[in-house]
Amino acid sequence: MTQSAFFDEMTASGGDVRAVYARISRWLNASPPELLAARREQAELMFRRIGITFAVYGDKEATERLIPFDIIPRVLSRTEWNRLEKGLVQRVKALNAFLADLYGKGEILKAGVVPSDIIYRNPAFRPEMAGRPVPHDIYVHIAGIDIVRVDADDFYVLEDNARTPSGVSYMLENREVMMRLLPDLFASCGVAPVENYPEHLRASLRSVAPLRAGGDPTIVVLTPGQFNSAYYEHSFLADKLGVELVEGRDLLVRDGFVYMRTTQGPKRVDVIYRRLDDDYLDPLAFRPDSTLGVPGLMGAYQAGNVTLANAVGTGVADDKAVYTYMPEIIRFYTGEEPLLKNVPTWRCREADALKYVLEHLPDLVVKEVNGSGGYGMLVGPHATRAEIETFGKKLAADPSNFIAQPTLSLSTCPTSFSGGVGPRHVDLRPFVLSGADGVRVVPGGLTRVALKEGSLVVNSSQGGGTKDTWVVDDPQLA
């Protein structure tokens, strides 16, 4: 019945177009290749003019590269989305409860659900945060949860991003560009809007301001600066939020409060949406060589005079070793069964698992516990014998630093390229906001697509692209 091992979201790999893709399929059939090519070019021009660029580290020539954008949208039905949304809300609530517990009483460790050593020996665990509650017990104000689909019914969480997840500007700009490029198709599909994301973000950030800030807290976005790979996103968000985009050197700490240097003298800052890693935040508390941070910031934060979003020390919760315990973590705090599945994972720290993994390296994906961006991992089926051998030695030398997963059959979506249209593997990163008044997710998220035929690596730092993600109402499907 199936023509390929992968689930195609348009054709279900069986030839019949799924109802949710009916309009897209009709549009594709009616659009000659030249038209798609012309639209592709227009899209690229728009992105370049807006200046949505992404820096690739170690690539001096291309300091400002565009992330390729595919004009064929990725479609989810409202029913599918509602299921995802419930699961996302549940998962992020559990993440926040978990962090509040880790930096509070540590019940989950006492109960033996999660082994203490993977927490306390984790470099992302911040002892400075222990016993210092944060406003409304919210640590992860902005989460990016990476999800993959393997068939008509099954979605898996691939990874939780609880530090400074990026990509939301692409979600918003992709939508803008699609509405301008393909207005008729867009209008005919009844796509749920995403453009209220900045509103929700602002509301979430306001809700966690220190009490003494009063009704109108001063919010800023803190960026490492314009040579950071995500600088475009930082400035985009500051602009949409209507707040200042500051660098570390624009802030100062005086008498336990944080101020920004303005043309009218110092102005107090209440909430910092920081896009700077923990290590760089404050040279007095963390890396002393950081020139990007603000000396004394940690002191002001610990005194409760400023709120950082996300909180310091959230990295301990999105570690790949902790990930393997997420189902237990969700059960522990919510008393519910997890609505979103984890990818089955071997913890190489466990002897049986390690044995299995070492014997099955050619079939598995092995990741470093603290790695990100698709670096430092082995994709067994795509690796050479020599690569597998080298990696095996690395793994045997330090097993607790690795986890392994089966190679997932990531779903594919029709994707346009210079030679035509064909299936390419995709994932999805929805953005989940937590504030004092609850958890919010805008319908959709960032769909990342592996543009190389057969590739499963969607990371933009390794040549992945993006698509607009459409959540469409079910009644519209007919």
């Binding site: 003019r49 807006i50 314009q226 602009d239 200042e244 920004m260 240097r261 303005t262 043309t263």
Partner: protein, 318 residues
């Protein structure tokens, strides 16, 4: 607003204005240098151009002697020259990029698109030297970018401190440029009482007017042939001439006043700017020539620098 934002806006506008000025200087110098004349004058013209662009010292560090092609290369493409056209557009864009949220989308897109065009020409030039036609097109491009950026800022930016700081950068730079071009030619800008030279000087006078796009304006105002003392009058004391020192200071005072009234206090920058404006308003060309044009311009350039310093001190550094 953030002090750093104000600083970037100020310098963004300065660099764009400077790119325009350097392009104009090169344009007019090419015209002058192509006139049939004494061989030696070609090198003199380029030396004057480098001097007006504030790049002579840097040039002399990199080159033994002043020569047309090397000077053009230095003024257009050399990244060691912080005032070369590519350096100005690059720095202008870096400053704009640092404060994207303080600019309108239109203004950002204008500078960004202009920069992309500039990068294409730069890449082409690196592959093989541009021919004359392409060089001229590049000068036109630089002027167009400055004009478009200026126009989009004027048309789209809110009239608040972001706009005022960028305008201050523009007028401080422009006043400096006008004073410089007059100063490198002060020896041919003689008062009415002195006898004037031959046809070569005529072309020189015209070149000055061209460099500040004032040929037509001159004729509208004076309805007379080109006279050196009138050129000096036009570029120093005429309020209706948008590049005159007086007009620039009118604007500098206006924008500094807007800032001080919005912020509810004033400082050294406002007081100093009003002093300079007052002095320009209360002087005549007779006084200027009496004291010596060169001395007058040298003093002005220094005063103008102190305004830049006072603005930085008061608003841009903390």
């Amino acid at each position: 607003m953030l002090a750093r934002t104000a600083d970037s806006l100020f310098w963004f506008a300065r660099y764009m204005e400077r790119a325009d000025f350097v392009a104009r200087i090169v344009h007019t110098t090419r015209r002058l240098a192509s006139l049939p004349s004494r061989e030696s004058s070609v090198a003199n013209e380029w030396e004057a151009a480098l001097s007006a662009a504030g790049a002579l010292e840097a040039y002399q560090e990199a080159h033994e002697e002043v020569e047309a092609n090397a000077a053009i290369e230095f003024l257009l493409f050399d990244t060691r020259n912080t005032s070369s056209i590519v350096s100005c557009i690059e720095s202008g864009r870096i400053n704009a990029r640092a404060v994207r949220t303080a600019l309108t989308i239109e203004t950002w897109q204008t500078i960004n698109a202009g920069w992309q065009e500039m990068k294409k020409v730069q890449a082409k030039h690196q592959a093989r030297s541009l021919d004359t036609e392409e060089l001229v097109a590049f000068l036109d491009l630089a002027m167009k970018i400055a004009l478009d950026v200026d126009g989009s800022a004027y048309r789209t930016m809110l009239r608040n401190d972001a706009y005022w700081f960028s305008r201050l950068g523009l007028y401080v730079e422009r006043a400096d440029n006008t004073a410089r071009i007059l100063d490198v030619k002060y020896n041919i800008l003689l008062p009415e009482s002195e006898s004037v030279g031959g046809s070569l000087d005529y072309f020189q006078w015209n070149a000055i007017l061209r460099a500040v796009s004032a040929v037509t304006s001159y004729h509208w105002i004076y309805r007379d042939g080109v006279k050196p003392w009138l050129i000096a009058d036009l570029l120093i004391l005429r309020p209706e001439m948008p590049r005159s020192l007086l007009a620039c200071y009118g604007e500098i005072v206006r924008f500094l006043d807007a800032i001080s009234s919005a912020y509810g206090r004033q400082g050294a920058a406002q007081r100093r700017a009003r002093q300079i404006l007052g002095r320009l308003e209360n002087t005549t060309m007779k006084d200027v020539f009496g004291a010596g044009l060169h001395e007058f311009l040298t003093d002005f350039i220094e005063d103008n620098n102190t305004i830049g310093g006072a603005i930085a001190e008061q608003y841009l550094l903390d």
